[in-house]
């Protein structure tokens, strides 16, 4: 399940890395042209907090698509965020795309439809919005040896390996058995928080 590959940012920006790409994510990334200002220095992991805090800082609420925490490189998003993680020199591992391709799903090929850059840290007006915070509780187990149920919604998170395996996975949720690839065989989603009653 794990594949590590170290590449440099220069290689990315030269566009020499090309994996089997679902489709292009070029338009916004390509905004970094020679005439443009130097892209902001990537801020991956630069929040100074834990990985969980950095994760939360990129989301309006738990479940929201994260904003892109680095500047544009002039390459496809899927060069680094494909099926596997890559270790990017000076930045650390890149998270793979968590979006699966289940029946009825749409192509998640236009990354910028949901993920946007930050061009400024300023606000137009102050916001009073307080979003749902991350749920740090573990999935419930029926007994100590039972597989835990999945404690979060799985829509758009169909690729379990993206977050639970590989060098980018947060320590506390690393899967102990990545060789077992069909996660749903043992771990089930919770559709609602009620119990069966006749």
């Amino acid at each position: 399940m794990r594949r590590r590959c170290v590449i440099s940012r220069d290689e990315i920006s030269r566009g020499v890395i090309s994996f089997g790409v679902i489709s292009l994510g070029l338009p916004l990334l390509a905004a970094c042209s020679k005439d443009d200002a130097v892209p902001p220095r990537p801020k991956v992991g630069a929040s100074g907090g834990t990985a969980s805090a950095a994760r939360a800082a990129r989301r309006a609420y738990d479940g929201a698509p994260p904003v892109i925490p680095h500047g544009p490189f002039g390459a496809s998003c899927t060069s680094c965020h494909g099926q596997w993680s890559l270790e990017v020199e000076g930045m650390g591992p890149s998270p793979p795309s968590p979006h699966g391709e289940g029946a009825g799903s749409m192509a998640y090929s236009r990354c910028e439809q949901c993920h946007v850059h930050r061009e400024t840290e300023q606000l137009f007006a102050p916001s009073l919005f307080r979003g749902l915070t991350q749920d740090f509780r573990r999935g419930k187990r029926q007994h100590p040896l039972a597989p835990p149920v999945i404690p979060h919604q799985d829509l758009l998170r169909e690729n379990c390996a993206a977050c639970h395996t590989g060098p980018q996975a947060r320590r506390e949720i690393v899967c102990t058995h990545p060789e077992r690839v069909r996660c749903g065989q043992c771990h089930v989603s919770v559709a609602e928080n009620t119990e069966f009653m006749r």
Binding site: D35, R110, S127, D135, R171
Partner: protein, 782 residues
Amino acid sequence: MNRRDFIRKLGTAAAGVAAFSCTDRDEATRVVPPSGGVSHFDLKWGKAPCRYCGTGCGVEVGVRDGKIAAVRGDPASPVNRGLLCVKGYHLPGLLYGGDRLLHPMRREAGGKGFSKISWDDALDLVAGRFAEALQNHGPEAVAVYGSGQWTVFDGYAALKWVKAGLRSNNLEANARICMASAVSGFMTQFQSDEPMGCYEDLDVADDFVLWGNNMAEMHPVLFSRILEHKRRNRGVRIIDIATRRTPTTEYADTYVEIRPGTDLALANGILFLLLRDGKIDQAFIDENVCFKRGIEDAKTIGYGCYGDQADRYLFEDAPRDASLDEVRAQLEEYAPKKVSEITGVSPSHIEALAEVYGNLVRGTVSLWCMGVNQHTRGTWMNNLINDIHLITGKIARPGNNPLSLTGQPSACGTVREVGTLSNRLPADMVVTNEEHRAKAEKIWKVPTGTIPAKPGPHTVDMFRALARGDIKVIWIQVTNPWVSLPNLSRIARKPGGPFVIVSDIYPTPTTDAADLILPSAAWVEREGIFGNTERRTQHWEKMVDPPGEAREDALQIIQVAQRMGMGSLFPPPEGDWHKSLYEEYRSFTLGTGKDLASYDELLGTRGMVWPVVGGKQTRYRYAAGHDPYVKKAKGVHFYKAKGYGEKAAFWFRPYHAPAEVPDAEFPFWLSTGRVLEHWHTGSMTRRVKELHQAVPAAYVEVNRVDAQELGLQSGDLVRVESRRGGIELPAKVDGRGKTPRGSLFVPFFDEKKLVNLATLDAMDSISKEPDFKKCAVRIRKV
């Protein structure tokens, strides 16, 4: 407590113990900061359509402690199947800007500043101003200007109050500047508004022809649907006809670059080739199509902005019967060589487009939005696209349809279906038709002759009349005209002029121009119904309380009507009035082919696509086997077109040049539009941190070669100005959009960089929709 309740409570308690067992809590505390603890299951979830564009994506809204804490795409919605765009995912933020309008505010004496007043005083003031204007100046001196963001409740309340209460037709909505050309296109050809197809076309067509339509940014979820279809089915093609490269172009199989304002020539060129090569469906034409022509002289028609037309644009077309042979002769003018000279499109591309439409085995869907509608001949361009589908028989069949896209969440459901325009009544009826007025007066239980037969002014003329002082009082709801209208300096607010009331949720340049500001409830802070592009009517419940004293727009109108002695028009607002108001409106639609679902039917569904008869939706209008009003065993029946013998009308529409073209003094084209992250004038999306920070300010896209000649680099401050006005903003070279040489593009969301100071108030001759896409400007480095 009975046995079942006891067991349920016991089970709940046990589950709670398990969820917060010491072991789990300790482990969580050890590995991560204990700042979390609330899961998605702790939220109360409700369904609603998205607040933004006309796609009508289904959203699940999570509420905690009376506030929205999260949203997620609704997997059960047939529109978006669980996926949203970045605006949709950040919907909660639109309600929680720190500068929400919380109380009614009246402009202080002397003109500057506002002071808080009570709702009673505010409503008395509105009622008093309207009554005074009616009494002293008549029904043409009052006006209401609403929105495609009005819910059906809001729009219907406004329609009834203005047309039956005030006895005025001075009711308009911003869909006039957005979708009116699509309306007049459908009305002139099918005598009924709105598309015959639905979103399922996007899953089955072979070819998608995008006419000036940047779907990847403006209708991203629908574009994803096409991309998914394309990924699964090799051979599906996207053809992007556009005046600039956009993110949509990156996914197109063919990019057809066209000079601004020449699409009429291209469409006629396609028609010429289809007829020349016999790639038409003659049997379909014989059975279902008639031919029409109208006034075709450019000078007679004009553009609505020069000479006498600069005050009032009153042109009306004069239809006459024509024939296929007559049309064929007229189209001889549009051979590929000549069309290529006009449009800049190569003859091979023109031939290729005709091949796409002329291949009667492959399904073809045409898609368009503002590029076609905001056009000085927008109705004509709508007609020509529909013509292509009519002449090839590629219409009212799965995967074969013209599908105009809408920009606002209820441009269809409210403005087009309820009829909140100066000439319209519900369900395709118009005030100029005596029978239609009589039907409305009967349903509304008002005396015969209540509704005036003369239409009021269209939007641009309404604001021209306001600037002249002919309109004495105007109430603006859910829209921001002092950012969104063209040639803004013409309608600049002058002190001491007409009395302006604005209902909105945030301060905007329009509230800056107001004499009275009323705070409105937004989206899920009130109950609502929207109708989307594919004729889907969607209901949502109120989920959270509005902040401060904010109230829903329909309630504001009903309470003013009460104060003016017109309260009998509406159910008592103290009770549960939504259902009865909607059911009264729905009665207009029953039996007309535009039958809406009942209130109760809407409650339990992710919307229903009209006509809804016997509880069944209609995916394809006019199509046998789909539309219950079609009695034929197969084929189509354009049963709404009574005036055309129940056939659809093919219109010959010639090419006319735009109202203004670049010259030596103003050598660049200027086009305006939107970006993915912001919705229209940005009054909501700019309050959302993630969206504002992604695109914090407007810019002007400049072609790379032009930039080199002008000595410009990205980020340089430039001045873009037309004969009417100009703005300063940063240049962007080869951004997400790439303009061809001689063309500039500016998004219009930024109230501090008002590109509409430069745009021209030229209009479509029939729909009176302004053309924001084409005017002449110059650019220089500041």
